[in-house]
Subunit: 324 residues, 2 copies
């Protein structure tokens, strides 16, 4: 298995990749790693047989527009996706610009023939032990009910294969639980989901219940999915900001805050799920995992593990077969 890493265009430089690769290869010895980045930054690996460095000097920045993204044909991201399309590697992890990764992946790698639009899937923790697959996180800004239906099918299969959930329960993210709630798009999507015998569809779910562990797959259109995700992010930051101010307001609470510091960081990390395991661009003929731009080594390591599980379980071939 050849797992490739786009080691440029992220916020934290190349050291996070070096550390992540070391951790990953310590745990998995059936894998070859191909790194797309500046050769001189990965010299520590130069005598290792299972690591190959593809020397890149051009990369896509977070601020590059669509035109720049397409023009930079020597960028690490462009090269890695070309190699993925041409079967030289088996899967990609990138912590570069999401927009660029979406654009280039969709341009270079075939979409599964029965799928109209690929989308972004995140795995999100809940208050129980149950995690859920959340899609579309925002790969599409205008989505049809038919697209949402396909996202649900992909989420269900992904949950089965990658998370070994035997009978994944699917819910539609909406503004009310009853049938007939929501805008035209979500009413139509509800009907499609409800009429598909392949799905175990439990109806609508509201954002306030998302984290209650009531579903294995929560599906929505890309616009709402992205809106909701950013609201979650904003609220988590707001909550911790307020907590911090409150803790600093008195000596007693400062002491308590110090005692709780580790605990607070743990909770914050759990909420910041975008950093764990990455988001999967699902619906393409090859696996692409998007790690957060400001991923640390642990987050890159988690994204590598996610990709490893996806490849090992032949996820994309099963997806293709089941979606025929």
């Amino acid at each position: 298995m050849r797992i490739a890493i786009d080691a440029m265009g992220n916020d934290n430089g190349s050291q996070v990749f070096v550390d992540a690769i070391k951790m990953f290869l310590h745990d998995f010895n059936d894998v070859n790693i191909v790194v797309y980045g500046k050769e001189e930054e990965f010299l520590c690996f130069k005598d290792q047989d299972n690591i190959e460095i593809i020397d890149c000097h051009q990369y896509i920045t977070m601020d590059d527009g669509l035109l720049a993204v397409k023009r930079k044909i020597d960028s690490s991201m462009s090269k890695i996706l070309t190699d993925l399309a041409e079967n030289r590697i088996d899967g990609v992890v990138s912590a570069g610009s999401t927009g660029a990764l979406l654009t280039l992946s969709i341009a270079k790698i075939k979409t599964i023939s029965t799928i109209e639009r690929p989308c972004l899937l995140a795995t999100v923790p809940s208050t129980t032990d149950r995690v859920f697959q959340y899609l579309d996180m925002g790969a599409n800004s205008d989505t049809s009910a038919h697209n949402i239906h396909q996202f649900a099918l992909m989420g269900q299969i992904y949950s089965k294969i990658v998370f070994k959930v035997e009978h994944p329960h699917v819910r539609l993210l909406n503004i009310g639980v009853e049938k007939g709630k929501g805008d035209k798009l979500h009413k139509e999507a509800f009907e499609l989901l409800n009429n598909d015998d392949r799905l175990i569809f439990g109806g609508n779910i509201e954002g306030r219940d998302m984290f209650n562990g009531e579903a294995d797959v929560i599906v929505t259109d890309g616009f709402s999915g992205n809106m909701t995700l950013k609201a979650i992010e904003g609220t988590a930051h707001f909550a911790f900001d307020q907590l911090k101010s409150a803790i600093y307001s008195s000596t007693l609470s400062k002491i308590a805050g110090l005692l709780l510091k580790k605990t607070l960081v743990q909770v914050k990390d759990k909420l910041d799920y975008s950093r764990y395991g990455g988001a999967v661009l699902i619906g393409l003929e090859k696996p692409v995992v998007k790690a957060h731009g400001s991923s640390n080594a642990k987050a890159i390591y988690n994204a590598l593990i996610r990709l490893h599980v996806i490849i090992k379980n032949d996820t994309i071939n099963i997806l293709k077969r089941e979606l025929q």
Copy 2:
């Protein structure tokens, strides 16, 4: 000024209204209160000249469907809105079902002639001292760009009159900050907002930055508005649930948690802004304030104060005049 309270159909019974009225009349002596509820539950006010009780025995439950809502013509909510429409009272606070309040308000009270659709406005705190007006919270499930434009104008005028912000800055809630981001609806809304000289339009804002105190008005369609709101609610609960589990995980953190208990409750309350001041149904010819169904006395008191400010400042007449 005659301020009316629909004292039925909420989660916490009539005592919260009794307490709220006492607090409110202690602070404001220029107001008459009209209570729509069971007379026997408000006997403590029977000798008070500035309080009138309209005896009601029927009320709308949180589970009543649209048909039941319309049929219950003797419900406290139906009666209070009829009296508001017929000028017997100057404004209404209700903690009953949001759906019912929307349906009955729109049916009984005229919409401002230049406004196509009324919407729900909430006042939300930020990490700075600046609060922002957030609309549409979810009165409409299918919204046009033209509707969003009108919501923005109403939000701006409301911010000026009720919160005394001289030059309110308006932002459009969207999935990216750049012009051209978002779905068709939000791209169209962006153009309308951007081309209106009456607005100080600062462009798009993402949910993750909502709480940063960068705007006085954040406008969006009712579907996204409601989605976002419920995600905020879900995240806040999730964060505190995780924090609680983490605190209970060791003796040391339990002690720290005890020391911080008051602080944690304060932060939780601040995030749960739906309980403070209520949401205003804006765009109608009369003021209707929706308090949260599980409001305590303080929350009802805050909703009464909000309504008082709206009436005292002649908000609706100014809205009508400025929207001509």
